[in-house]
Each structure stands twice: as structure tokens, then as C-alpha cells.
């Protein structure tokens, strides 16, 4: 599929595909959603980020009319997800995070069942997806691994002509090769102008696929926007080698975690003060300069930092850009996910 289309195929449909505000849902004493907001524009791939237990699945279930919200409003494709559930379901496709299949039905039967109950399946597309995802459709549900069960749900969802895809951690059981196929297929769907809400905690996946992301925490949206916007709000890491001793940086506003080692300097700077810091460095004379925008991990860590310190991890809040640090950030992120799931 070569995208000869303009950047945003249908840029100005007036109603957003998903519009949620102030959503509250309690289960007994647990407050799963605590005033969650979410806005997904038609035609975009929207990342829905947060650790387990943040309320992502609950939000999706409300959008599917499987749960009823206590308060707040939710509109899906301009209709009410609870009252117009069946009519809406014909226009959307859903992939649950934990796909359970019928033990004595084959994968192929399950694909057809789910797709036809939605309103039909494109046989050619079905065959193509089965081929690409390397699924054996003649095996019984009980003999599929988690990844294969997910493939069944993904194929059933993508072989349809649904205009909205709701995907709840759809690739948590897929191997890296299949992950690549998945990303490819989602980009294809996007090129066709479909809207995708992708709940995930695989940040690299979100970075690759999503136009905009919303980060949820404890049932609330803590941040929403494009990755670029979010990065602007956070710190950039600078590593530089200068002609002379890099003095005076500590007096600049917005500079954090300054480390100097001879002519080498390493620091983080708030987005608003990046220009001043760079000007200061060029005054001294720059021999080499590396700047790292904050990774999604670091964006996430900003919101989950307090939980990490509860767990005994130290987060300076200073994003550092080296690969070693980034992977440390990723594992800390996993720890954050666990922390909030407790």
C-alpha cells in the first residue's frame, strides 16, 4: 500500500471518533476510573498508555458497552456506546488483551464466527492475513498458544472493514517478528483512513505507530498530545565536548544534573531553556554535541516517578540519553507498572 495520500486523509470530520470526559467507574471499593478524559480524532492512531491497572481495559469495555460508566460521558462515532452498542459494533472491531477461544473450535472457525457476527469478512484479506501472521487455521482453540489466540482475534478484527479498531494490548503474546507484521498492518489500516485506539505498554510500538498518545494513571488521564508536544514539555539531554572548561552552566535556569569532566559536559535542560543553554555552549566553543530528545520511557517515568521512589528506585527526573540509561529506564518502567498494579 503506497501512501500517495496527503498527510491526514480526512482532516476535518467535525466529530471525533472517540470522545470521553469525566468517566468514573467503581468496582466495589476500587475506583477503576476516576474522571478519565480521552479524545481520539477520526483517522488517527492513538496510543493509550499506562501500566496494568491504570484503567485502560475498563475504558475500552465502557466504549464497547460491556460495562456501564457510573458518571461521565462517552461518545463513540457520534453515538452512545451503551444504548447503541449493537449498531456501533458493526462499525468497529475489537481485540481483547487476553484472547480466550472455544477449545473445540478451530482458529479459522473462530475468525469467521467473530467476523461474520460483525457483518462480514473479506475472504481475500482473511487469507492474506492468515498467511502473513503465519497462523494454522485448522488447529483447535485449546491447542493454541497465547500468541496464536491473539493472532486469531487480530485477523478477525483486521479482515473486516471496520472504521474503528479498539486494540487492548493486542501484541503482548506475539514474538518480535509478528510484532513487525502487526505494525505493518496497523500502518496499512491507518493509510486506509481507519481510526485506531491502541492500548499498550510497549512504548517502542506506540512511538512507531501513534500520532498522539494519552497517558493514564490511576484512572485519570495525566497527559495527552503528540509525542512532539510532550517532548517539548520535558527535558532534553545534552552531551558536549567544548574548547574550554564549560563553566557558567550551573547559573542558567532550567539546567539540571550537571556533570563536568574536564572539557566534557553532560546535563539535562528544560525544553523552554534549551536555546539559552546551547547559546552558552557555543560561546565557549563546541567540538562535539549530542542531544537526546526524551524517550517515551522518560515521559512515562515523569508521571510514575513517585511510585518508583516508593519502590526504592531513585529517579532524579533527569532524563539521560545514553542507551544504557534508556534501557535502565525501560526496566524501571516495568517496575512502575508493577508498582501501580498492586
Amino acid at each position: 500500500m503506497n501512501a500517495s495520500t496527503t498527510a491526514t486523509p480526512s482532516a476535518a470530520p467535525s466529530t471525533p471518533a472517540i470522545s470521553v470526559s469525566g468517566l468514573v467507574k467503581t468496582f466495589g471499593r476500587t475506583r477503576a476510573l476516576d474522571g478519565l478524559d480521552l479524545e481520539v480524532a477520526t483517522g488517527e492512531v492513538h496510543g493509550f498508555l499506562g501500566p496494568n491497572g491504570a484503567g485502560k481495559s475498563t475504558t475500552l469495555r465502557i466504549l464497547l458497552g460491556l460495562l456501564r460508566a457510573d458518571t461521565g460521558t462517552a461518545r463513540l462515532l457520534g453515538a452512545d456506546p451503551w444504548h447503541d452498542a449493537v449498531a456501533l459494533h458493526r462499525r468497529l472491531a475489537y481485540v481483547p488483551g487476553d484472547v480466550e477461544l472455544w477449545p473445540n473450535l478451530t482458529g479459522g472457525e473462530a475468525i469467521d464466527l467473530l467476523a461474520r457476527l460483525r457483518g462480514g469478512i473479506d475472504a481475500g484479506k482473511r487469507a492474506e492475513l492468515i498467511e502473513r501472521f503465519d497462523l494454522d487455521p485448522t488447529k483447535k482453540g485449546r491447542s493454541y498458544s497465547k500468541g496464536n489466540r491473539q493472532k486469531v482475534a487480530i485477523i478477525a478484527a483486521l479482515a473486516s472493514d471496520a472504521e474503528l479498531l479498539l486494540l487492548d494490548e493486542p501484541t503482548s503474546g506475539l514474538d518480535p517478528l509478528m510484532e513487525v507484521v502487526f505494525q505493518d498492518v496497523i500502518l496499512q489500516a491507518k493509510a486506509q483512513g481507519r481510526t485506531v485506539l491502541l492500548s499498550s505498554h510497549i512504548l517502542s510500538q506506540v512511538e512507531k505507530l501513534c500520532d498522539r498518545v494519552s497517558i493514564v494513571r490511576l484512572g485519570r488521564t495525566v497527559q495527552s498530545g503528540t509525542l512532539g508536544e510532550m517532548r517539548h514539555l520535558t527535558r532534553t539531554t545534552i552531551e558536549a565536548e567544548t574548547d574550554g572548561p564549560p563553566t557558567g552552566l550551573e547559573e542558567l535556569p532550567g539546567v539540571h544534573n550537571l556533570r563536568t569532566d574536564g572539557d566534557r559536559v553532560h546535563f539535562a535542560v528544560d525544553g523552554a531553556h534549551l536555546g539559552a543553554a546551547v547559546r552558552h555552549l557555543s560561546g565557549i566553543g563546541v567540538r562535539s554535541l549530542v542531544s537526546h530528545p526524551p524517550t517515551l520511557e522518560e515521559l512515562m517515568l515523569r508521571h510514575y516517578g513517585d511510585e518508583l521512589s516508593e519502590l526504592g528506585h531513585t529517579t532524579s527526573g533527569a532524563p539521560s540519553g545514553t542507551t544504557a540509561d534508556a534501557s535502565a529506564g525501560a526496566s524501571a518502567d516495568a517496575a512502575a507498572a508493577e508498582g501501580s498494579a498492586r
Binding site: V86, V99, L114
Partner: protein
């Protein structure tokens, strides 16, 4: 300092120093103890239940061999009828009818089924079930030999069977059973042990064959069922057929009659050969895989499957066919003795009195009581099927379905069609089997239609049972187990109520209590119409509740 050896992980199970780590049986002891711990409730329960089941039959066995020679001769005549022999054992037991030999005749076959079930389930649980759930992979990655798992599973099953045999041998002589000699009791217990070992061996083979727990236990249980069927056929017809069945062998040890031990030998040999075959097969397959290739299915769905009702029917099919077979058997069993009811009940005055309350002739009142049993069994199907939506929901399989164009009421409705329609068919089939065999044994062709009608009269009560399950599903999904109360209560009050002289209002609480007891009583249409209306109201209310509640996530 011996720090090196001290810090080495201590595998209490397989001490390295003994040099057995590379042995195919390494770790068997630890696995055996672990398996016993996992089964610490289940196996004692099986053993005790089988023991108590036997002891509880002592009374019945004593009644079957009355002191009075004339009565005893009559009883021999009754018991030697083909229908009775099919349900018990070889006729030779009747050549010396004593309470003890009556017990052997009556209970050895059932005991074989119970011990066979226990052995199959135990072996499968500790071998194939663990492999399917990937526990085995973890275990086998430790210092555990290739044959350790199977050996410990067989050892657990063997221990339970030996324990049961010893308990039976110890308990029977003191149980007040006339003619129960110590030697006979020892043989009686040993017969149980040996038949249990046979089916443990059978399971050792079937768990190698299929990669799936259900298929593995299904195959072994099919062998058990076939063994019982063959012995039944042989005991009624040509005795040679019984000699094909291991259950036939152990029954021919004739405890308390001839007390001969040698028929246990071929059974023991079979157990050993089967177990050896299990070991041999296990070396020819991978962990987690089966010898038989997995059965593949259709790569795409038929039109029928993707229709909600067709899909529900597919999900209920296995259970439905099982109940059909069960009720055919149950109906035929009771039907085949319908002609002898007068003879059989001659001396049981209290039963005759109880039956007489229903009115009609003895045959009719007996048939109407049997019909209640048939209806209650059909109601068990209805409850299981009507609760299927709940298990689909908690298993997380409904969510993707209801995220399609399928509405909640249509989804639930299609399951109800399968539950109520299937239940009605099961009921009709049981009644038909009772009618056909009853007509044959009583020599009265009119019974076919009469009994079919009597069975169908229970259909509205089944629908109420299903409706109650749906009501719970809609409004109190966590309490759906309460739905079992309806058939349970219906059976207790309807079946025992007549014997115990319970007040009538207790019977009125059960939907089964309002059904006219055909053919003994006359047909009354009002309760049938009312029951149908109640069922409709319950269903409507349950569906409405389901439409407005949250779906439970997995």
C-alpha cells in the same frame, strides 16, 4: 571450609552423591510425595466413598438373600432375569445366594467402575494434565528422570488401589454381612485393587497417545465403559464375551462363592503389559506432545456455525449427546424391568404403599415415579446448559462476541434455545426409551405413547428450571449455583416425599410437584399452562437483568 558444597543447592529429592541423577527414575520419590500431597483430599475421598458405597449396600444385599427358602428361590428367579444380570454380574453367583454373594454380584461391577474412574483420573491428572498446563516442563527441567513422572503417577494410583483393597478386606467381615469370610473379603478387596491397576495401566497408555487431557481421559474411560458393556453383554448372552473384559475377569473370581484367585492373574498381567506399553510409548514422543497427531478441523466456519443459534448448538452438542446416551440407557434400564415390577415389589410393602398414592396400577405408578427421575436428569442438562452463558462469561469468551453485531439478548436467547430445546429433546428421548422397552417387557404396546406423553408433561417444569437459572444469570450472576437447587429439591421432595409422607406444600414448592403424574394420575392442563407462563416470565426477567448489568471480565 566447605563453602562450595554448602552453597550448592540442596535438592532434597535427588541427592547428587547417590549417583542417581542421570537415572531415568531420578526424582521419583520427591514427585511421588508431592503428588500425594496434591491429592491429600481427593484420593482419600475416592477411597472412602467407594468403601462407604460398598458398606451401605450390605443392607440391600441382606434383603436380596432372604432366609425363607421360598422367598430366596423367588429372588433368584428375579435376579436371573436378563435386565438384572446386565446390571449386576454373572449368574453363577446365584447358585449360592447368600447376603455376601449377593453383595459380590451386585457391587463388584460398580466397584470396578469407581476404582477404574479413580485410577484413570489420577494417572491423567499427574501426567498429561500437568503436561498440558506446562507444569511438566518446569518439573522435567529439574533433576527428574524421563520415567519419573509416569512412575510416580502410577505409584500414587497403585497406593490408592491397594489401600482401598485392604480397607475393604478389613471392613467386610465385621460389617454384619452373612457369609462374609475373611478369605472372601480379602479376594473381594484384591479384585478392586487389581481392576484399579488395570485402568491405571490403560491410562498410562492413553496419556501417551493424545496431547490433550480430555482426550486422554476420554479414551481411557471409553475402555472402562466398553469393558463394562462387554461384561454386561456376556453375562446376559454368551459368557465368552465376558472373558474379553477385565471387569468380567475379576467378577469371575467369585468372592464369597468359589473364592478363586486365578482370574485376577490375567488382569494383573494386563495391568503390567499396559503400563510397560505406556513407558515404551513415552520414549517415542516429546514432552507435551502426543503419539497421535492432533486432530485438525475446518479451516473456515460453516454458515450454520456463524449463526448465533447454530453456534450455541455447537457449544452444547457434546453435553447434549452425553445426556441423550445417558437417558436412553436409564430409560431402557427401568423399562426392561417394568414387566417384573409386580414380582419385584411383592415383599416391599412400604414401597408398594408409597407407589399406590399416585394411583393407577402398580406398573403405572412405578412408571410415573421413574418418569420423575428421567425428568430430573433432563433438568440437570437444562441447568448445565442454561448456566453455560455464565461460564462463557467468566472464561472471557463472551467479550469478543458481544463486541460484534450480536446483541446481548440474542446471544443469551440462542443459548436458551439450545438449553430448553435440548432439554425437552433429552426428556422425550428418555421417556421414549422407557416406553419402548417398557412396552416390550410388559407386553403392552400402548405404553409407548402413554409414557412418551407422561415424559413430555414434564417439559414446562424443565422450562421453569431453565428460567430460574436465567433469572439468576441476569440479576445475581455470582449466585448462579443456586440453580442446582431446583432439580435437587424436585428430586428429594418428589421421590422421597411419598416414602417419607412429607406435607403437600413442600411438594408444591417444586415445579416438578405440579406436573400431573402420568400415567398413574389424570392429565390436568392448568398447571402446565401456568408453569409455561412462569417460565416465560422468569426468562423475560432474566434477559432484562442481563441487558442492564455489567459484563464480568475474566
Amino acid at each position: 571450609m566447605s563453602t562450595v558444597t554448602e552453597t550448592a543447592p540442596r535438592t532434597g529429592a535427588v541427592p547428587d552423591r547417590s549417583g542417581t541423577a542421570g537415572h531415568p527414575l531420578a526424582g521419583t520419590g520427591a514427585l511421588f510425595r508431592f503428588a500425594l500431597r496434591r491429592d491429600r483430599v481427593r484420593l482419600p475421598a475416592w477411597v472412602l466413598a467407594t468403601l462407604l458405597f460398598t458398606l451401605a449396600s450390605v443392607n440391600k444385599a441382606t434383603q436380596m438373600a432372604p432366609d425363607d427358602p421360598q422367598k430366596r428361590a423367588d429372588m433368584v428367579k428375579t435376579l436371573s432375569g436378563p435386565a438384572m444380570l446386565a446390571m449386576t454380574g454373572p449368574e453363577h453367583y446365584l447358585s449360592q445366594l447368600t447376603p455376601a454373594s449377593a453383595l459380590s454380584l451386585m457391587m463388584l461391577g460398580y466397584g470396578a467402575i469407581l476404582t477404574g474412574l479413580m485410577s484413570v483420573l489420577t494417572v491423567v491428572r499427574h501426567t498429561r494434565a500437568d503436561e498440558e498446563s506446562n507444569i511438566a516442563e518446569l518439573v522435567r527441567s529439574g533433576v527428574v528422570g524421563r520415567h519419573a513422572t509416569l512412575t510416580s503417577a502410577l505409584a500414587v494410583a497403585a497406593s490408592a488401589n491397594v489401600l482401598l483393597g485392604l480397607l475393604l478386606a478389613a471392613a467386610l467381615p465385621g460389617a454384619g454381612l452373612e457369609g462374609a469370610t475373611t478369605g472372601g473379603a480379602l479376594l473381594y478387596g484384591a479384585a478392586h485393587t487389581v481392576i484399579g491397576l488395570v485402568f491405571a495401566g490403560v491410562a498410562a497408555v492413553t496419556v501417551q497417545l493424545s496431547a490433550h487431557t480430555r482426550a486422554a481421559s476420554g479414551m481411557a474411560l471409553a475402555v472402562l465403559g466398553a469393558s463394562y458393556g462387554l461384561r454386561a453383554a456376556g453375562d446376559v448372552g454368551t459368557e465368552a464375551v465376558s472373558w474379553v473384559s477385565p471387569i468380567g475377569w475379576i467378577q469371575r473370581s467369585y468372592p464369597f462363592v468359589d473364592d478363586r484367585w486365578w482370574p485376577l492373574l490375567p488382569a494383573l498381567a494386563l495391568a503390567l503389559v499396559a503400563a510397560a506399553a505406556g513407558y515404551a510409548l513415552s520414549t517415542r514422543r516429546d514432552v507435551g506432545a502426543g503419539i497421535l497427531p492432533p486432530r485438525l478441523g475446518r479451516p473456515s466456519a460453516t454458515e450454520a456455525l456463524t449463526n448465533p443459534v447454530g453456534f450455541a448448538v455447537r457449544l452444547h452438542r457434546g453435553l447434549f449427546l452425553g445426556f441423550c446416551a445417558g437417558l436412553l440407557l436409564l430409560g431402557a434400564m427401568y423399562g426392561s424391568i417394568l414387566g417384573d415390577v409386580d414380582d419385584m415389589l411383592k415383599d416391599l410393602d412400604d414401597v408398594r404403599e408409597a407407589l399406590a398414592k399416585a394411583g393407577g396400577t402398580l406398573v403405572e405408578s412405578f412408571a410415573s415415579t421413574v418418569m420423575l427421575v428421567v425428568a430430573v436428569v433432563a433438568a440437570l442438562f437444562v441447568v448445565m446448559a442454561a448456566l453455560r452463558p455464565r461460564s462463557e462469561e467468566t472464561a472471557g469468551r463472551v467479550e469478543p462476541l458481544l463486541a460484534t453485531g450480536l446483541s446481548r439478548s440474542r446471544w443469551l436467547g440462542s443459548h436458551l434455545v439450545a438449553a430448553l430445546g435440548g432439554g425437552t429433546l433429552v426428556l422425550a428421548l428418555g421417556a421414549l426409551a422407557l416406553g419402548l422397552t417398557g412396552a416390550a417387557s410388559a407386553g403392552d404396546g400402548g405404553l409407548v405413547a402413554e409414557l412418551l406423553g407422561a415424559g413430555l408433561a414434564y417439559a414446562p417444569a424443565l422450562w421453569v428450571t431453565g428460567g430460574f437459572a436465567v433469572l439468576l444469570f441476569g440479576w445475581a450472576p455470582r449466585a448462579t449455583a443456586l440453580a442446582w437447587a431446583v432439580p435437587a429439591y424436585g428430586f428429594v421432595v418428589g421421590y422421597l416425599g411419598k416414602l417419607l409422607d412429607l406435607p403437600g406444600w413442600l411438594n408444591d414448592l417444586s415445579p416438578f410437584g405440579h406436573v400431573p403424574q402420568l400415567p398413574a394420575s389424570d392429565m390436568r392442563w392448568t398447571p402446565m399452562v401456568l408453569l409455561t407462563l412462569v417460565a416465560a416470565a422468569l426468562i423475560a426477567c432474566g434477559v432484562a437483568g442481563f441487558r442492564r448489568r455489567d459484563l464480568d471480565a475474566k
